[in-house]
């Protein structure tokens, strides 16, 4: 299927810094079907989250009488009611906010830590690299869900704590990736030249290395955020997530504890999981497409 690629002269020999992203990459990305679907899905949930905040101004509870619980969908409750007689659609839209907040904030922490560790380890080498990478390997080995559970059980279940726990357990893969990229970049002519004329290390990292690794960072940011949203939902489902705000994972936790699945309340069990899946899938589509867009550039080098 693939055509034979004739060997080309290796890399730029002039020592010029080639742009990390060719012009028009963004336009090509925007034309990809996967990106269009992904961005559409993301937009949907942002709208849902905003609508949820407007809807819940008057509170979610509609009072629980025996007649009002586990009602199937009707005109009054478009998605039915839950075990306390709350409107599922209102809960669902309110829950979008926690997923998005935790997803974005935890990802930001993971990306900053991962990029920093990878950059420092790859650029300075020596004992710093040994220490950082041994620690990174240990983080990669320990299974993440039990680690997140144990941490959340100990530090508590506020929004800030959950963000920290997920963020600080999601950076190791990123660090490995960035380090190997920096290892090859630091031997390239434009970096060697900057170092030989005495440009300070921090400036080299900021001006020469960071723009080069940025596409890699962006592609992985999207994928980390997908994993972070799944982690938050799982934690909430296990009863270890944010308790003070409605979230999709918490809804499923309530559904599980009240035996909604066994009682056939599909309107309560299906929507939160579908929302999580569609949001995560939207992000993986975008991440997948960015990775594909970047890989031909790497082959050509």
């Amino acid at each position: 299927m693939t055509t034979v690629v004739l060997s080309q002269p290796p890399g730029p020999v002039t020592g010029e810094q080639t742009p990390a992203v060719e012009r028009g990459t963004l336009a090509r990305l925007a034309r990809r079907r996967m990106v269009q679907i992904g961005v559409g899905g993301l937009g949907l949930f942002v709208v849902l989250a905003i609508a949820g905040q407007l809807l819940t101004v008057n509170g979610i509870a509609t009072g629980s009488t025996a007649a009002s619980i586990f009602n199937p969908p009707s005109l009054q409750h478009l998605m039915g009611t839950d075990e306390l007689g709350r409107d599922v659609l209102t809960e669902l839209s309110a829950g979008a906010l926690v997923s998005l907040i935790v997803g974005i904030a935890a990802t930001a922490i993971a990306v900053v830590v991962g990029t920093l560790v990878g950059l420092l380890a790859g650029f300075f080498r020596g004992w710093l690299e040994v220490v950082l990478m041994r620690f990174t390997d240990a983080m990669l080995t320990v299974p993440s869900l039990p680690l997140i559970i144990v941490l959340a059980a100990v530090v508590g279940q506020g929004l800030g704590q959950i963000v920290l726990v997920i963020g600080l357990t999601s950076w190791a893969g990123m660090a490995r990736l960035i380090r190997s990229e920096v290892l090859s970049l630091r031997e390239r002519a434009f970096v060697l030249r900057a170092r030989s004329v005495g440009v300070p290390p921090l400036r080299i990292m900021r001006v020469h290395l960071l723009p080069q690794i940025l596409p890699l960072v962006i592609a992985n940011t999207v994928l980390i955020s997908a994993a972070a949203i799944l982690a938050e939902a799982t934690l909430s489902f296990l009863g270890l997530g944010v308790h003070t705000r409605p979230s999709w994972g918490l809804m499923l936790n309530n559904a599980f504890k009240s035996g909604a699945a066994g009682r056939g309340a599909f309107w309560y069990v299906l929507p939160p999981g579908l929302c999580i899946a569609i949001l995560v899938l939207s992000l993986s589509f975008i991440g997948h497409a960015i990775n594909e867009e970047l890989s031909p550039r790497r082959q050509r080098q």
Binding site: A138, P143, P146, T234, L238, G262, A277
Partner: protein
């Protein structure tokens, strides 16, 4: 790098990782909010003499370094304390749960790898065609579905639409068996739904890796040579391409045991399978810290061992690595 130095450096990393995990565990559970002796006694305020004797029996009156040494000594000698809630020895509880988890994981993992690889071969030899893109997109979609929710949906389907398969536990409640065979059948029936959940939610990675690996291998010169010799395409695929394409999948099966365990924990909770996942879930909700601590450590050790095993076995399968 020689084989000996490679093995010793791998064992070094393993010991280091173990050390980090154990140390982390030690400090984490001592950072717990609240007074340790109060948590232990569950009785609120105790008289000072009782507190002192409790502290002494747990070595809390000693320096942190001495406590740490004592902690490691207790770990190594399987002296893991008793549960705050059931007052059973933690070792017994964790060991029983580990056995139950291994039963579930073994069946599900073998099925996942076999079906995943088969689908990967199916997609890989049709690369670029419709069947391929459908398989890849479906895999991405399955990866995005939260496992615990998939389990809930199966519980819903099999308790509302198709009643008959057990949706909870490992054996029928209060059942008596006339023969051991009956017991095995009962456990087998309880295994079905958790296994289906695990296979569906874990299969994607094996399919994708196997597909990509096969596509790469099919492009290599020796495959072209085999075709040029006039071998049938079936023979080229199964005898020349697939064995080599399996190598990355082999590594994945070991390295992914951690991820697979994480998935299993969720499935256990949904289906009340009495394994490590359920034990962790219970101990978290009951603040039963000794059980939580040891369960976590057990999982970490299993995964670290699997990683080491992969690195030691891989060169035997792929001589190119050993010679490097």
């Amino acid at each position: 790098m020689t084989t000996a130095s490679r093995i010793s450096s791998r064992i070094g990393q393993t010991v280091l990782t173990l050390f980090i995990v154990v140390t982390f565990n030690f400090w984490l559970f001592r950072l717990l909010p609240g007074n340790f002796t109060q948590l232990l006694s569950r009785a609120g305020a105790l008289d000072p003499a009782a507190v002192a004797s409790l502290k002494q029996s747990f070595g809390l009156d000693k320096s942190p370094v001495e406590q740490y040494v004592l902690y490691i000594k207790n770990l190594v000698t399987f002296n893991w304390g008793t549960s705050y809630v059931s007052h059973q020895p933690v070792f017994q509880m964790v060991f029983q749960a580990l056995v139950n988890t291994i039963v579930l994981i073994t069946v599900a993992y073998i099925l996942t790898v076999i079906i995943g690889v088969a689908l990967g071969v199916f997609a890989g030899r049709r690369a670029g065609r419709l069947a391929d893109s459908v398989t890849v997109t479906t895999s991405l979609a399955l990866w995005s579905v939260p496992t615990f929710w998939l389990g809930l949906v199966l519980v819903f389907i099999f308790s509302v639409w198709f009643v008959g398969l057990p949706v909870s536990g490992m054996t029928t409640y209060a059942a008596t068996y006339s023969t051991p065979f009956d017991q095995v059948v009962d456990i087998g029936l309880h295994l079905i739904l958790p296994t289906i959940t695990l296979v569906i939610s874990s299969i994607a990675q094996y399919t994708l890796i196997m597909r990509n690996s096969l596509v790469t291998v099919l492009d290599e010169d020796y495959v072209t040579t085999a075709r040029a010799k006039g071998l049938s395409s079936r023979r080229v695929l199964w005898r020349h391409a697939v064995p080599n394409a399996l190598l990355p999948t082999f590594t994945l099966t070991w390295l992914n045991i951690g991820i697979f365990l994480s998935t299993t924990l969720q499935v256990e909770v949904v289906f009340s399978w009495p394994g490590l996942g359920s034990l962790i879930f219970q101990s978290v909700n009951q603040r039963d810290y000794p059980v939580l601590e040891v369960s976590f450590l057990t999982i970490a050790v299993v995964v670290i061992a699997a990683n080491l095993l992969n690195d030691l076995l891989y060169p035997l399968l792929d001589p190119r690595i050993a010679r490097r």
